[in-house]
Symmetry: C4
Subunit: 191 residues, 4 copies
């Protein structure tokens, strides 16, 4: 089966997830520009989650540019990823309302970790379904990026109970690692 409808459905779900977070931003009752200041933590957590979901969309987009076909297993692996990503608005709203408390920050890290695991499963299921010459196999190789991210999320999760800032730092490092989608995929498509 072709990949186009899986992409369309994922685009729809990701578009909604990325947009409903903005519903948390309630217009202040006052009219001064300063009355926006208390919204700053909610705004920042919205921005970070937007970037995270943007990263997932970009990498998902690259992944399915190179995948040629899907089956029932790929559909479910994809739904699993979308499920964990759909919890990001909830985690974002909890973080946004409580600044850098360890509980929300640890939970946010847990959702990011589960999303990363789901992405790894999706990648693996796609590779298994294609034959040995499937270019993604070489491109991912030992999946160094995936492994480093998992470790960083785990470290962040533990650190969140000691120092929230260091946990956030871990999460941001993972974001930076993934912000540029796999260039080898673009090269492969060009060839």
């Amino acid at each position: 089966m072709k990949t186009n409808r899986l992409e369309a459905f994922s685009d729809g779900v990701l578009a909604i997830i990325i947009t409903i977070m903005v519903l948390e931003l309630k217009a202040p009752e006052e009219i001064s520009i300063e009355s926006l200041l208390p919204l700053l933590p909610i705004f920042i957590s919205y921005f970070i989650s937007f970037v995270y979901l943007g990263i997932y969309w970009n990498n998902h987009h690259h992944l399915f540019q190179i995948a040629e076909k899907v089956n029932g297993k790929v559909l479910w692996a994809n739904l699993n990823l979308l499920f964990w990503l759909s919890l990001i608005p909830f985690a974002t709203s909890w973080v946004g309302e409580n600044h850098l408390e360890s509980g929300p920050i640890a939970f946010y890290g847990f959702i990011l970790l589960m999303s990363a695991v789901a992405y790894f499963i999706l990648q693996t299921v796609i590779i298994h379904y294609h034959d040995d010459n499937f270019p993604l196999r070489k491109i991912i190789g030992k999946n160094l990026k995936g492994k480093i991210s998992t470790v960083l999320y785990l470290v962040g999760l533990i650190l969140s109970f000691i120092n929230s800032w260091m946990a956030v730092l871990c999460y941001i490092i993972v974001a930076i690692i993934w912000i540029v989608p796999e260039k080898k995929i673009e090269q492969n498509i060009k060839e």
Copy 2:
């Protein structure tokens, strides 16, 4: 007429239905990880409905991979299915807030039953619109899965007034029956 726009619209509606359920998960006011515990029933009912809608999306996807054309009747049969599925978030939220009370569980089963009937009608309308060699005709055959599901939903509906756990068990059995989309459709497309 081609099937692509019907698929796009259904993807949009299903993507929204599956995602707005997450709006029920309100961030707790407290900051401890334990403060997430009271949300567990809402979270579980969200998870089960997510799986159910995922099953419908997967089977809908398979159905329209094999359908070749649509007419006005198919469009309306599809809208009928989307209507019943659109009530799942409402039923989910009622179940989530009241755990395993018989009223919400029976209502949830009723919506699932009506969705199953709507799916059966959609299938039938599609088969009627295609000629005798249409492969779906053979694949579905006597529609055993459809009939068993309907019976299980009815049994579940009645049981919900006696023992909620047994009703939920019935619903879960139906989910398991459908979680693997019809493999014969994948084989047929391959050929």
Copy 3:
């Protein structure tokens, strides 16, 4: 320019409009099946609006199956239609909470009227942009359905201040006229 992206955007907007109405259905706090009864008017107004939006989607779908190209004017005529349709959830919620009071029923009729006018404008702009052999020209002809609908909406609007039931009857007659999308378009596509 091709029609595909206009269709995709319209599908997205219509999918959201048709689905957000369900957010008005709040789960009751009680757990008996009877506690759903007070929601019945909201449910019925949701059902009617769902059918209305389904009719628009079906006819829009047929319209753009036959249209071959779009320009800036068509894009704006389409956005105008989507604007009026986007007010249906608001009108629905007002009707649903106040049963058959004349104010909400008249307002609902006004939104339906403006949507019908917007659909007529869209049709006209599309026909103007195509050449004389454009099949839609013949199919619509004197646009009898459009004219009757406009008159019925106006009559309904006025009647809503006298007898709400008769106003609702007018709106339902228009729905019945349009529920079967133009069969001539399907025939034309087949040829």
Copy 4:
């Protein structure tokens, strides 16, 4: 990489942004037509934002009709545009509840300015990624429309602290400049 999925995702996000604004319109508790009057400012700000988002969608549509390919940079430039546009519902709701107070009007202008800058960046990134014969290069030329808009937004932003009406006038002039999408793009596609 092809442009189709970027378009689909953007269509999804824009469809949601344009539609969730309508959730601000809460049905009045009273039943007289006059009870809609207090909603007028919210309605007008919804209308203006709908037109603005329509303008962006139209121009985005034209832009990607002429763009032939995308890379990671284009994806991020597009996400940046969607981020700023996603804040329009928030700004709209603040303006709608406070009529023409300088704070909300200035903030609204700031979001429009950032969106315009994001659109300019997106255009630039697309042009850089294509070769010298890329027709968009000539069509945009010195980007007079973009420069005038930026100046008008800045002027509006400053004026909003002196006279809100004049600020709104500036924003409306920009809208008028962009309401007709670049005709040269349509001509170029025709050729």
